[in-house]
């Protein structure tokens, strides 16, 4: 099971939205049964908890320790998220 993580400053609102959006994109791609998505707040997120992370670019300096992070210019832009989620799925061999 590949694990995606969405992280934000408070772990309450924005990472939640990103998690829900990632889940709907995974459903679009047909791989929602192969990936789990969770949301975290940056201070309690540890790199081992997810294989790929999605974080807003304003948190670039606080998220480096998480490992494989894909930064988002806008956390509400579905097109950018779709592009980055699809790329992450390709990197993990889930889609061609």
């Amino acid at each position: 099971m590949v694990r995606f993580g969405a992280a934000c400053g408070s772990g309450l609102g924005s990472s939640f939205m990103v998690e829900m959006n990632i889940q709907s994109i995974l459903r679009e791609l047909g791989v929602s049964d192969k990936v789990t998505v969770q949301h975290y707040d940056l201070s309690s997120a540890s790199p081992g908890e997810a294989d790929v992370w999605f974080v807003g670019q304003d948190l670039e300096n606080s998220a480096g320790h998480l490992g494989d992070v894909r930064f988002l210019k806008s956390i509400i832009d579905m097109n950018e998220l779709r592009e980055k989620v699809t790329q992450a799925c390709k990197d993990k061999g889930l889609v061609g």
Partner: protein, 453 residues
């Protein structure tokens, strides 16, 4: 028969069970699997108990602060922090908060369906906190049981639908589209910042043109920023209170500065625990709310938490925070000279609200707009609580209060209505607001029909 009724009443009076049932209802409506329904219900139940535990910690840390401040300065010192004031209120108002939150979400969906205010407010923790404030003010005004829940929910639903509307034109300008709204109960201060930016700003010079030191990013971590600022605050107050008073009356002999450090740390710890509990509660409720509203009001706009705007202007985030905080400090100095209640600058509101105001101010008026807009709204969110606290009943004497502009604005309106004419005045007020919203909707439909011809 009586035994069963007693049990039902006990269930309804235990907020933890209530929110769990709300989560279960939401999961059932979404046709989730039995394991998911049970898991969701249990997590929500435990989540509320976690919140209660955090509440205990914060109250334990706030009381000595209030006492020290009074002894040191002979004034009431208040730290605006939503988690803290909700912690104080939860003991007495937990049940009504949970029920008003449920009722408010239902009314939000209905209002979005039938009026032009098509916003679904998805920032769950703010819904919870606003439900708490509405519960307190309307209980103090005299409402109870069914009418409290129904009318309180209606008030909350109105606030949930109207708040995003106040900021939407600035959101469209910032994001370049009209599909997402801002769901954060400080819309009044954001609208102010956007307006100030437009008035005196210069869009040519943006906050993002400046080179900013990256090291300040640690302020995004609430736990760290609260712990640091509270330590500074508690230490200053402790120094003025004097070691004798503290060691005799508060710390049981522990050195007074160490005591200050213990209490300020506890405050930060309490906020952390509350947020953890709120996360558990909302984990099930918000997706259910979103899922149901997607089905019932498909053309509604989601109103999302303020950090969604931060990536658009990361420098404006920090500039907005500092400017707002300075506004808070200036306000505090003014209050010290005028005497009475002192609203201390709360780092959490000045960070999240100031940052958002900075981004919006920058979007409408560049660097100047960001600085001026955040500064002015920083003063606004410092002075507004002064007028809110008197209508909160006993909560007005707590060491904390609600921190964001919409809490104060709605609270002041509700409280003033209550003072003018009690429950009747509030009901008339609600009726008038709904009438205006329906009228605006009708006017909008007419305009569209005329344009289509």
């Amino acid at each position: 028969m009586n035994g069963l009724l007693d049990i039902l009443i006990d269930i309804a009076s235990t907020p933890a069970i209530l929110v769990a049932l709300i989560a279960v209802l939401g999961s059932v409506l979404q046709k989730k699997s039995t394991t998911d329904i049970v898991k969701g219900g249990v997590k929500t139940f435990v989540g509320f108990l976690v919140v209660t535990a955090g509440a205990g910690v914060i109250v334990g840390a706030l009381e000595p602060f209030g006492e020290m401040f009074k002894v040191a300065f002979n004034m009431q010192g208040v730290i605006p922090n939503n988690e803290a004031i909700v912690a104080v209120a939860l003991d007495q108002y937990g049940t009504s908060t949970a029920l008003i939150m449920l009722s408010g979400m239902i009314f939000n969906i209905l209002i979005a369906r039938f009026t032009k205010f098509k916003y679904i407010f998805l920032t769950g923790h703010h819904t919870l906190y606003m439900a708490c404030m509405v519960a307190v003010i309307m209980s103090v005004a005299g409402f109870t049981s069914v009418s409290l829940v129904l009318l309180g929910g209606l008030v909350l639903g109105i606030i949930m639908s109207v708040s995003p509307a106040l900021v939407q034109r600035y959101m469209v300008e910032l994001t370049g589209n009209d599909s997402v709204a801002l769901g954060h109960f400080s819309a009044v201060s954001y609208a102010l910042s956007g307006y100030v930016g437009k008035l005196i700003g210069n869009k040519e010079k943006s906050t993002e043109d400046i080179k900013f030191p990256k090291s300040l990013g640690f302020l995004r971590d609430s736990t760290v920023s609260i712990a640091i600022t509270m330590t500074v605050l508690y230490t200053i107050v402790a120094l003025f209170t004097g070691s004798a008073y503290i060691q005799e009356n508060l710390s049981g002999g522990t050195n007074y500065l160490i005591f200050a450090l213990q209490q300020s740390g506890s405050f930060a710890a309490g906020v952390f625990v509350i947020l953890a509990g709120v996360r558990l509660i909302l984990n099930e409720i918000v997706p259910a709310f979103k899922g149901i509203s997607d089905k019932l009001v498909p053309n509604a706009k989601p109103a999302l938490d303020c950090p969604i705007v931060y990536p658009y202007a990361p420098n404006a985030v920090l500039i907005g925070f500092f400017s707002s905080f300075v506004g808070g400090l200036v306000s505090m100095v003014i209050m010290i000279f005028t005497g009475g209640v002192i609203i201390l600058p709360g780092v959490v509101p000045h960070f999240f609200v100031g940052a958002t105001a900075g981004v919006i101010g920058n979007s409408s008026g560049g660097l100047r707009g960001a600085i001026a807009g955040s500064f002015l709204q920083g003063m606004l969110i410092s002075f507004l609580p002064l007028f809110l606290m008197p209508v909160l009943g006993e909560l007005g004497f707590a060491g904390s209060t609600f921190s964001d502009a919409d809490f104060a604005s709605s609270g002041i309106i509700l409280g003033s209505l209550a003072n003018m004419g009690g429950k009747t005045a509030i009901m008339i007020g609600i009726a008038i607001v709904i009438a205006i919203m329906l009228a605006l909707t009708a006017l909008d439909k007419n305009k569209k029909a005329v344009n289509a011809e």
